[in-house]
C-alpha cells in the first residue's frame, strides 16, 4: 500500500438481503480483497457496510460491484 492517507475516504453502503451472520464474513472478504481498501466493517443487524478506501484506486462503484459479486445488492449512502 503506497496510498497517501489524504485520499482515504470513509464510505457507507446499505445492502439488501442479509439474512445470516455468515454474510458478514463473505462481504468483508470480497471487499477487503480490493486494492486500496484499508478496512471493511459489515454490520449485520442494520445491513450496513462501512469501508475505508483510497478513492484514487477503488471507487465506490467498484465496492458496490464487489458487494454485488458476493450476491448482495447495495447502494452508497450519504447519511
Amino acid at each position: 500500500m503506497t496510498a497517501t492517507p489524504a485520499t482515504i475516504t470513509h464510505s457507507l453502503f446499505r445492502t439488501k438481503g442479509f439474512s445470516c451472520p455468515s454474510c458478514v464474513a463473505k462481504i468483508e472478504k470480497r471487499v477487503g480483497r480490493l486494492e486500496g481498501v484499508s478496512s471493511v466493517s459489515v454490520k449485520f443487524a442494520s445491513g450496513r457496510v462501512e469501508v475505508d478506501h483510497d478513492t484514487a484506486v477503488t471507487s465506490t462503484d467498484d465496492i458496490v460491484d464487489a458487494i454485488g459479486t458476493a450476491g448482495y445488492e447495495s447502494a452508497l449512502s450519504a447519511l
Binding site: 451472520p21 450519504a78 447519511l79
Partner: protein, 666 residues
Amino acid sequence: MSATTRWLRGPWGTPIISGLLIVIAAILSLSIGVNPFGAGHQHGLGLSLDGPTALVASDLLMVAAALVAGIPIILKAVRALLVKVIAIDLLVAIAAVGALIIGQYWEAAAVTFLFAIGHALEAGTMNRTRSALAELVAVAPDVAVVIREGEQVEISAAQVQPDETVLVKNGAKVPVDGIVIGGTGALDEASITGESIPVEKSAGDQVFAGTISGGGFLQVRATGIGADTTLARIIHRVEEAQDAKARTQSFMEKFSTWYTPGIILLALVAGLVTGDVVLALTLLVIGCPGALVISIPVAIVAGIGRGARDGILIKGGEYLETSAKITAVALDKTGTLTEGRPTLTDVTVLDPAMDRADVLGWAARAEAGSEHPLARPLIDAAAAEGLPTGGLPEHTQPVPGKGIVATLEGRRVAVGNLPLLAAEDIVEDRGAAAEVDRLAGLGRTPMVVTLDGRVIGVVAVADRLHTDAKEMISRLHATGVKKVIMLTGDNHRVAEAVAAEVGVDEVRAQLLPEDKLAVVTQLQSEGFTVAMVGDGVNDAPALATADIGVAMGAAGTGVAIETADIALMKDDLLKLPEAIGLARSTVAVMRQNIAIALITVVALLVGVFAGGVTMAIGMLVHEGSVLLVIINAMRLLRHRRPAGGGGAAAGPAVRAPRTAPEEQTV
C-alpha cells in the same frame, strides 16, 4: 454485471435451479413407477449405473441438484472455517456430502435445496424487518432549491451552505434542518416525530430535513446539512442501536459458538455408537442453530425499527431489555407533566413604597440573564405590560434550587423561594411567607422578590398541566409500572396540588438537582428498575444514573438524541407508556423466539431417535422454525395506531405485559 447474472448470484438463483433439477429427477423416476423419495433409490455406497436408464438419469439429476445448491454452502462453510468460525453451513455441508457418499441422493438434494430456499426467504423477510429504517433512509432529501445571487437554483441537498436560504415548495421535501425566516406552510413531520398530522410552520419555527411540505411556501435558513441533520442523527442512532448487542444476544452467541461444534461431536458420537450413518447425518441437519442465532437480533431490529417509525428512539437491545423491566418512573414535573410554559398569575406588592410595575419590573430584569424556565413568563409579562426589560444585569448568579441573585444598576435583586431569603440573610419577610403559602396552596409557584436585602413583593407563575398527563400515568400503571413518582423543585403545596390532579403515586418536592439523583438511587436500592424522564438540562445526573434515561421532545436537540437511552422525538406524553409497551412486546418476542428455536431442536431430536424424522423433514422443519422466528418478530412492525378521536380508548402499543408464548397469532 448483467441483471440476470446478479439475480442468479442472488439468494434465489440456486434454489430455483436446484428445485427444477429435483422436479425433473422426480418426473423421470415416477415415469418408470419408482417413488423418487422412497427406497427405490437406496443403493448403498457408490452410484450404481446398472439400473434402468431413467432411474440413473434421475439419480444424476438429484446429484446435480444437490451440487447446485450445495456447492455455495460448502464454499461458505470453508470460508467461515478460514476465519475460524464453525458456521451452520458446515453442518449442512457435512450432512449433504455424507448423504451423497452413502447414496441418499434425494436426501442430499432436499437438504441443500431447502437450506438454499430457506436462506432466500430469510433474506427477504429480514429486509422486511429492516423496512422501518429503510423508510427513514428513503425520506432523506436529495435536492434543495436555494437562492443564489437572486436566482432560484436547484442543487443537491448536501451542497447547501450553512445559513443559506432554502425554499420549500408545496409537496417538496425539506432538504435541511433550519429555521423558517419567511412564509407559512404545513409540514408532515411523521419521519421525525411519528406524528402524521401536519404541523403549521411560520417564521421562527424549527423545521427538519426529511419532513414533507403539505402546502404553503417556506423560506428556511439552513442550520444543519447532510449528516448534521436530525434525520441523519436518527438514522445513525437507530442503526447503531440495531447493531448493539443485547445481553441475551451475547449469551446466545457464546452459546452457539460451542453449540455448533457440540452438535458435530454429538453426531459423530451417535454415529460411532449406533453405527448408523444416516442418524448421524440427520442429527447434523436438525442441530442447525439458525433460528437460535437469529431469534434475538431479528426481534431487536424489528422492535427498534418500529420505535423509530413512531418517534421513539431506543439506544439498543440492552436498553429494550431494561425498559421492559421498568417498575418505577420518576418524572420531572416541569416540562413533562406540565407544559413547561408557565405564565404569570399573581403579583403581590409587599413594600408600601412600591407598586405592581416596580415589583414585576425588578423581578423581570433580574431574570433577564437567567436560563431558568420561570424567567420567561416574568419577562414576557413585563414586556406585555410595557415595562422596560431590555439589557442584561451587570451580574447574575443562579442559586441552584433556590432562585437567582442579580445586580442591576448597582442594586442587588433576588428572586426565588423562601430558602433564598435565608440564604440572603433576610429575616424580616413582611408577610412574604404567608403570601407564598397562600399562592402555593392554589398550586402556583410563588417567588419572593427582594431589593437590596428587603422584601418588596411576591410574584407567582403557574404552569398548565399537560392534557395527557393523567392519561399517561394511568397507561404507565397499565403497562405494569408500579410506582410513578413526581420530582420537582417546587414547594410541597404546589407539588401536592399537581400530583393529586394527575394521580402520581408519590411526590418529592423542593428538590435540588442533586436530590433528584438521590431519589433515583434510593428507588434503585429499594429494588426498582427506574426510568427517569426529564428535559436533560438540570436533571442530567439523575437521567444518567437511572436505569433508563428518557428525554422528551428530543427532535430539536441533537444532544438528547445522542445521549438519552430513550429519546422521544415528540413532546407527547403518551409516547412514554408506548415506549415501555413496545419494549415489553419486543422482549416477549425475543423470549418466544428462543422458545420456538429450542422447542424445534428438541422436538426434532426426539423425532430422530423415535424414528420418522429424515434429513429432508429435519431441514424443512428447521427452516420453517427460522421463518417463524422472523415472522414473529415482524408482528412488532404491525400498526396498532388508535384512530384519531374515535377507536379504542386503550392505546395502540400499550398492552398489559405478556409473558412468553401465549399470544401466538397464527
